[in-house]
C-alpha cells in the first residue's frame, strides 16, 4: 500500500532520519518504538507530508494526505471551539457532511463543552473520534495510549483491531510495548535515525 524508500530528514546538521525503508501493507498495523527524540514523530510527519524530506513515499492511494488520519502526540485545539464544532471542522475539511456526532461519540465526550477545557485524555479521544469520522484509509497514531485512562485504552485497542479488519493500515507509536505487541503485526525500533531493528510480536 505504501512504500517508503530511502527517507532521510535533517534539521541543519542534525540528521534525524537516515535511509528509512519500510513497506506498509493494507490491513496491517505497524508499531514504532524508540527513545524520546529518536525521530518517531518526525517520521510520521514526513509520511503525512507535514515535513519535507529526502527520499520517496510511494502509495497506491491517489493522495496519501487526503486519506490519512493523523493523531498528534498532543492534539491541537483552537480556543472557544466546542467538541461538536471541532468534529464538524475536521469533517468539513474532508467534505464530509456528517452532523449527527452524538451517535458516533464512542468515548461519550461532552461535545457541547469547549474542547480546550477537556482533560489531556479527553482531548486525545476527541481528536481520535474526528479521525474515525473522516473514514480514512491510513491512520498514524502518535502515542494514542498516553494520558488516556485504562478503560479508554482498551477501547482504543479494540478500535485498532476493528480498523484492521476493515482493511485500514495503521502506524502507531507508543512507549508501552505491550500495547503494541497486542495490536500490531510488525514492530520497528527506531534508533539514531535508523530503523535498525525489527521485533516480531508474539
Amino acid at each position: 500500500m505504501i512504500q517508503i524508500e530511502k527517507l532521510s530528514k535533517s534539521y541543519g546538521k542534525n540528521q534525524v532520519l537516515l535511509d528509512i525503508n519500510v513497506h506498509l501493507e493494507q490491513g496491517q498495523a505497524y508499531g514504532f518504538v524508540g527513545d524520546n527524540g529518536s525521530g518517531k514523530t518526525t517520521l510520521f510527519r514526513c509520511i503525512a507530508g507535514i515535513e519535507s524530506y529526502e527520499g520517496k513515499v510511494n502509495s497506491a492511494l491517489e493522495n496519501i494526505k487526503n486519506n490519512l488520519g493523523y493523531l498528534q502526540t498532543t492534539p491541537v485545539f483552537m480556543s472557544r471551539i466546542t467538541g461538536w464544532e471541532y468534529l464538524k471542522l475536521l469533517c468539513s475539511a474532508r467534505q464530509i457532511k456528517e452532523e449527527n456526532f452524538e451517535e458516533e461519540n464512542i468515548f461519550e465526550l461532552p461535545l457541547r463543552a469547549y474542547a480546550e477545557n477537556y482533560s489531556t485524555g479527553m482531548k486525545k479521544k476527541l481528536a481520535l473520534t474526528a479521525l474515525l469520522l473522516q473514514r480514512n484509509e491510513l491512520y498514524i497514531l502518535d502515542e494514542p495510549f498516553s494520558g488516556v485512562d485504562m478503560h479508554s485504552n482498551i477501547k482504543i485497542m479494540n478500535l485498532i483491531h476493528n480498523l484492521k479488519t476493515q482493511g485500514k493500515t495503521l502506524l502507531i507509536s507508543s512507549h508501552i510495548l505491550s500495547t503494541l505487541t497486542d495490536t500490531c503485526d510488525h514492530i520497528y525500533h527506531l534508533q539514531d535515525g535508523r530503523l535498525d531493528a525489527f521485533i516480531a510480536p508474539e
Binding site: 480556543s79 471551539i81 464544532e85 475536521l90 468539513s92 475539511a93
Partner: protein, 305 residues
C-alpha cells in the same frame, strides 16, 4: 523584576530581528507610525479621544491577558506582580498620554490613570465553561472563535449604530457599520496551526474559495440587518452605504489572503505595511490582493498539494 523587563526588551529585539528589522529602527518606525495614526485619527473624527481611550483600554486589557501571566503569578509575590502590571500599563499608556497632551486633551490624560490602575488588577480570564451560542454553528471556525471572543465589542458597535440612528447621525452610523467589518477582519489576523490547514482535502484554490464562501456567509449573517436598516432609513445615501458594504467584503477577502500569504507565520513587516497602505488607499487593494494570492498559493501549495 528588573530582569523581567530586560527579558521583555530582549524578546522584542529578537522578534524584530526575526523579521529582518534592526531593533532601533523598528522601535523608531513604530513610534513614527503611532504618531501618524494618532494624527490621522484626530484629523478625521470628533470622536477621536473616545476611540483613543478605548484603544488604550484594550491595549492594557490585552497585556493583562498574556498567556504567561499564571507563570508570573507563580514566580513573583502578589505585590511584585501588581507592580509589574502597573509598570507595564504605564509603559503602554505613556505614548497615548503624550499624544493626548499634544492634542491638549487634558481630561483624557487624567482618564488614563484609572484605566492603567483598574486594568492592572484584572486577572486573565479562564475559558468560561458556559458555551456562548453563535449563529455560525455550521461554519467553522474563524467567526465562531472571533464572535465568542469579541461578542461584547460587536454589541458595542451595534449599540453605537443604533444610537447614531436614534440621533440621526448618518456618518457615525456608517462608521459603526464599517467598524463591524473591521472587527470581523480581526478574526483572521492570527494564523491557525498548520494541522488545521493540512487536514483539508481541497487544493489551494478550492481551499481559499471555501474560506471566502464561509467568511461571506458569516459576515452576511452579521451585516445584512444593519445594512437593510441603513438603506431603509437613509435611502438617499444608498450608494455610499453599499460602497462601504462592498469595501467591507473586499477587505474581508483581502485579510484572508494576507493571513495565508505568510502562513504558517504571522504577516511579516513588509506584508503588513503593504496591507496598511491598501487599507488607507483602497484603489491599490486589488493589486495587493493579487500579490497576496500568489504568496498564499505558494505557501499553501507546500501543505495542501
Amino acid at each position: 523584576m528588573k530582569y523581567y523587563f530586560s527579558l521583555q526588551l530582549l524578546r522584542l529585539e529578537r522578534k524584530l530581528k526575526e523579521v529582518g528589522i534592526p531593533p532601533a529602527i523598528g522601535m523608531f518606525c513604530t513610534g513614527i507610525l503611532f504618531i501618524f495614526i494618532s494624527n490621522y485619527l484626530f484629523s478625521k473624527t470628533i470622536y477621536a479621544t473616545i476611540i483613543y481611550l478605548i484603544f488604550a483600554f484594550s491595549a492594557c486589557v490585552t497585556l493583562g491577558q498574556k498567556e504567561y501571566d499564571p507563570l508570573l503569578r507563580q514566580i513573583f509575590s502578589s505585590k511584585e506582580h501588581q507592580r509589574i502590571r502597573l509598570y507595564e500599563n504605564a509603559i503602554v499608556l505613556l505614548p497615548f498620554g503624550l499624544y493626548l497632551l499634544f492634542e491638549a486633551q487634558y481630561l483624557a490624560v487624567f482618564a488614563l490613570l484609572p484605566i492603567g490602575l483598574a486594568t492592572s488588577f484584572m486577572k486573565p480570564r479562564p475559558t468560561p465553561t458556559f458555551v456562548l451560542p453563535t449563529p455560525f454553528k455550521k461554519f467553522p471556525f474563524e467567526f465562531i472563535v472571533g464572535f465568542r471572543k469579541y461578542y461584547w465589542f460587536i454589541a458595542i458597535v451595534l449599540l453605537l449604530m443604533l444610537k447614531a440612528i436614534q440621533v440621526d447621525n448618518y456618518n457615525l452610523a456608517l462608521f459603526s457599520f464599517g467598524l463591524l467589518f473591521f472587527t470581523c477582519m480581526g478574526f483572521f489576523v492570527k494564523p491557525e496551526k498548520t494541522y488545521f490547514v493540512w487536514v483539508h482535502s481541497r487544493k489551494t484554490k478550492a481551499f481559499l474559495l471555501e474560506k471566502f464562501k464561509i467568511a461571506f456567509i458569516c459576515m452576511a449573517i452579521l451585516s445584512t440587518i444593519p445594512y437593510i436598516g441603513l438603506v431603509f432609513l437613509y435611502p438617499d445615501r444608498i450608494f455610499i452605504t453599499s460602497l462601504i458594504l462592498g469595501l467591507g467584503y473586499l477587505f474581508l477577502s483581502s485579510i484572508i489572503l494576507a493571513k495565508y500569504s505568510a502562513f504558517p507565520l504571522d504577516m511579516n513587516v513588509p506584508q503588513a505595511l503593504l496591507y496598511a497602505v491598501s487599507l488607507w488607499f483602497p484603489p491599490i487593494l486589488l493589486i495587493v490582493m493579487i500579490i497576496f494570492y500568489k504568496q498564499s498559493k505558494r505557501r499553501l501549495d507546500t501543505i495542501l498539494e
